[in-house]
Point group: C2
């Protein structure tokens, strides 16, 4: 009997990515990716996704045998807020889509059943299913990127809350009189430690006169500094960049300590580009959590980077379809 497959779709503000995932969540058999052309709108993105999916399905079936019937469905991950019941994107700040029925659009075009969940839930679920938090009872996922998001897997199931918006870890205040966040709250974790806010904090220090290699990396145009620039400077041995990263780790540590005291997880898995900083990030982050959270809860918990940096979104979206979607086994 031929293997069976589920298509995973990972919609992001920078890239659209598609993979054909085996039912056990192993390495996708075929991967496709293309830059998100935000200005072309959602229908063009769906066309692109469908084209990549058809191509990836063909490659998979040619390589592994089987027919179209061996592809059971498609799991979609997308930034939110979403209406999970209706499969609709309510709004995505980075994409500009509003009230767009993404699940039905992709399902109809591919002729496959589909599920939709938010990108942070997909990444967390992938790390629970096949990654750094494989099979643990309580897994907290923290996604660091343009925004900060998260997911919670309890007893093998994602926790979604009363209306599908649980686990907004980036939008919990760690400083109730602190800087205003884009969400309207004050002092949110995201207002300090998202990629753009790491860069903003780095620029603040440079404008205050700190010595650093950073300006030379962007030809003096400080607005071009990103979290990646800070990371590059750190690798060049820049003391100021290291300070910014350590400060980021301490702030994240306060946020992660909250999650440890709230959820008492076996694993907190941190995913996203910022984790490329490796121990420069994780060593001070773990130290800050130890300093703040309950000792017994800290002892019970590992804080680790994700193990599926390129494919968590695809594998998790497919995994959610497999766990919760309707398909014929």
């Amino acid at each position: 009997m031929s293997a069976r497959w589920v298509v995973g779709v990972d919609i992001g503000g920078t890239n659209l990515a598609v993979g054909v995932v085996p039912l056990d969540g192993g390495t996708p058999a075929a991967l496709r990716s293309s830059p998100t052309q935000v200005h072309l709108g959602p229908d063009a993105a769906v066309d692109e996704i469908v084209e990549m999916a058809e191509s990836a399905i063909s490659e998979t079936l040619e390589t592994h045998g089987g027919t179209r019937g061996h592809v059971l469905g498609v799991g979609i991950g997308c930034p939110g807020p979403l209406d999970l019941t209706e499969g609709v994107v309510l709004a995505t700040p980075n994409l500009g889509w509003v009230d767009y029925p993404i699940r039905r659009k992709i399902s109809d075009a591919l002729g496959l059943a589909a599920t939709l969940d938010n990108d942070a839930n997909c990444a967390t679920y992938a790390e629970w299913w096949r990654g750094a938090g494989r099979g643990v009872d309580v897994l907290v996922g923290l996604t660091l990127g343009t925004g900060i998001g998260g997911g919670l897997v309890l007893g093998g199931r994602l926790v979604r809350g009363a209306s599908g918006s649980a686990s907004e870890f980036g939008h919990t205040t760690i400083d109730f009189m602190g800087r205003r966040c884009a969400c309207g709250n004050y002092g949110c974790l995201e207002a300090y430690a998202s990629g753009p806010n790491i860069a903003a904090r780095a620029r603040e220090g440079l404008r205050a006169g700190y010595e650093s290699v950073l300006p030379s990396l962007v030809d003096g145009e400080l607005d071009r500094i990103t979290a990646v620039t800070v990371y590059d400077a750190l690798l060049l041995g820049d003391a100021y960049a290291r300070e910014v990263m350590t400060e980021t780790a301490k702030i994240l540590g306060a946020g992660v300590a909250n999650l440890v005291n709230l959820f008492n997880p076996q694993v907190v898995v941190v995913v996203g580009g910022v984790t490329r900083a490796g121990e420069h990030l994780f060593a001070p982050l773990r130290a800050e959590v130890r300093r703040r959270a309950f000792e017994a809860a800290v002892r019970a918990c590992r804080i680790v980077p994700g193990e599926l940096p390129e494919t968590a979104g695809i594998i998790g979206a497919a995994g959610i379809f497999i766990a919760e979607g309707e398909y014929t086994r």
Copy 2:
């Protein structure tokens, strides 16, 4: 056939309370309560609990008929940290007990199977079972007292975490560079809004010269001010006491907004003596949550006082035994 019963035991730093609870979680058939004599130690407390339980069981069976066999077991609620697996109190700051096998002691003395859980979990479970959050899918309980604790019921089950210490809502920082908390962390919700810390904040203002009726309520001995004194002054129309309560509500609002964004609950139930302040507390608390949390999550959520102010601990402890303990139906 006679009714069947479970004994609920609520161990607190101020009172020991016992009740005989019907299997449907209705009003306890008999209640007993006595002051906790902390200086006498845990064995004396167990003796007192056992005596009250035997008396309450006798009264129940005399009134409703039935035999000892109709009492199926005992659920115990106690401040933590606890070892839930072994049924041991690891440490209770307010009681001074260390490594005390409370579950076995009470079980042996009564000849009944027993379960142990922490007091905040018991109160939350009672509010889910028979109170303000009856039957909802996602219930957050916040217990305000000498400390601040909490509980989370998801799909009818308490969430306990990897080692039984989840839901420590009082020990999440809302000000990561804020005042040091007794737990070692900085800026914990408890460091501002527990009963003793409400009183401490009230004293700070008085010492800084605020006009208030408060000193006259304690014969000028400011150290005797408690959260109840602040509440009494508020009822007398004292503007400073009202300011302290409003400030407390705003701080709690920042903490509850975090819980709303984290758990997306249908209900946040707030229990404990401080809730006697009623709308003086809840109106500014709800306003602050609306200001801070995601609109859709706020819309999905009611923030309400508990409906079982005297008996939540007893009913919840018994309910946990019924849901999870071993007994013959």
